[in-house]
């Protein structure tokens, strides 16, 4: 089994196996499929831009906190390398939102806020759990967009996003996180890691539901 361009072993593979039923829902989610074939509604794309912007804002806090939790300098190097691409993503969201006259500075939807809050809260559960959470979030994105990459139209307005999260560079990052995860739990994932990983995948699905269908609070 390959993942993110690398080889999944140990805890990363065990976590994927236990969440397999959810993984099928990820790669077959209507939002992903419609973005892939270019039939995603304009309104849904607008919601995606705004909510993914807010997601990355919260995710950056989480990733920075994880750098602080890293048990050694090499692990911190890997994680810190993930921070720079986030700036490019935020810039992309801002540009696209400005071009569509979307208010990106408004309030995030409850699912987005709940999801990013959960990521940040996981830092208090310690390194192995938090790195499992990071892997869940990144692996979900990579696998979903990689699943539609081959059929996605390059001329589609959604292509830059699909390309970004199914790229070899992103795959390499996900594989590096998998290696950190395997090293964090060499004997296999703990129950707390399994719960956290599973929750992230379900938050991801819920995030896409909210973007696809709209959500208020």
């Amino acid at each position: 089994m390959t993942q993110g361009g690398g080889r999944a072993v140990g805890s990363a593979r065990a976590l994927l196996a236990q969440s397999a039923p959810l993984w099928q829902r990820l790669t077959a989610h209507p939002f992903v499929l419609r973005a892939g074939d270019g039939t995603l509604a304009t309104e849904a794309f607008g919601r995606w831009l705004v909510e993914d912007y807010w997601f990355v804002v919260g995710f950056r806090r989480f990733l920075a906190g994880l750098v602080g939790l890293a048990p050694d300098a090499l692990s911190a190097d890997v994680l810190a390398a993930g921070l720079a691409p986030l700036q490019a993503e935020l810039d992309l969201f801002r540009r696209e939102a400005a071009g569509r006259r979307l208010d990106i500075a408004g309030e995030p939807a409850p699912t987005t806020l709940g999801y990013t809050s959960y990521l940040q809260a996981s830092l208090a559960d310690g390194w192995p759990v938090a790195v499992a959470v990071l892997y869940g979030a990144e692996k979900a994105y990579y696998d979903a967009w990689a699943a539609v990459r081959a059929v996605a139209r390059r001329a589609s307005p959604y292509w830059p996003f699909i390309d970004n999260w199914s790229s070899d560079a992103f795959a390499g990052w996900v594989a590096a996180v998998a290696r950190l995860l395997d090293a964090a739990a060499p004997a296999g994932p703990t129950a707390a890691m399994c719960t956290a990983f599973d929750r992230v995948v379900r938050f991801e699905l819920r995030f896409w539901d909210a973007v696809h269908n709209g959500e208020t609070w």
């Binding site: 409850p110 806020l113 709940g114 990013t116 809050s117 959960y118 809260a121 929750r199 379900r202 938050f203």
Partner: protein
């Protein structure tokens, strides 16, 4: 007039800022159903489960607040909430036992998201997290206090309503108000207003998820 006879206090300003949400708090279907004594057994089951998960995580938030409290007085007031929180957990456990609720079931996304939001605020500074702590308590006190006099004591929900509308609970909130006022004597900052407001909206979502049910 403020609660101490002067200008409007910071705590009062926070409530005023989120005043448009308060009719939704006081008129929420879950609150009304509890008052009428006709809450669906399935909803009560979800309430017990969600409250158990939330209270357990909420304890970590309160404890985290104690660790970032800027003065001994702040820490003392906030820490006084830990014992009642344990009583809440025990009360919910007893309700689960009586009602046959399985507490090992995974809580819903609204519960996890809400608890996660509180925990995440510990990294945003004391005053912002304090505004959120105050919000969680004020919403509960106002909602359950509004139906205390018309809730049947023989319903299985009465211990919940009684606890969260009690004078002791109100006293703790009064202490939190004083901390909020001291933390921001010039009035609430925009981030404090935001965290206070988000907590109210998370609370409404939490209740809606209990009342209607949610899956993920």
């Amino acid at each position: 007039m403020g609660q101490h006879g002067g200008a409007v206090s910071t705590a009062e300003q926070l409530v005023l800022h989120s005043a448009p949400l308060w009719p939704r708090v006081l008129g929420h279907p879950l609150v009304n159903a509890v008052a009428a004594g006709n809450l669906d057994p399935g909803a009560f089951d979800r309430w017990i489960l969600a409250e158990h998960a939330f209270s357990t995580e909420y304890r970590r938030f309160i404890a985290g607040m104690v660790t970032i409290a800027p003065t001994g007085w702040d820490a003392e007031v906030i820490a006084a909430g830990l014992a009642p929180n344990k009583c809440d957990i025990d009360m919910v456990n007893r309700a689960a036992l009586r009602h046959g609720t399985d507490l090992d079931i995974e809580p819903g996304p609204s519960t996890i998201g809400f608890a996660g939001y509180l925990q995440s605020l510990l990294q945003r500074g004391y005053d912002v997290a304090l505004a959120a702590l105050y919000s969680t308590q004020q919403v509960y006190f106002d909602a359950w206090g509004s139906i205390r006099d018309r809730t049947n004591w023989s319903t299985p929900y009465w211990p919940f309503v009684d606890t969260w509308s009690s004078a002791i609970f109100g006293d703790w909130i009064g202490g939190l108000c004083q901390l909020v006022d001291a933390a921001a004597p010039g009035g609430p900052t925009a981030p404090m207003c935001l965290s206070f407001d988000r907590v109210v909206r998370f609370e409404l979502q939490f209740w809606s998820a209990i009342y209607v049910g949610e899956t993920w």
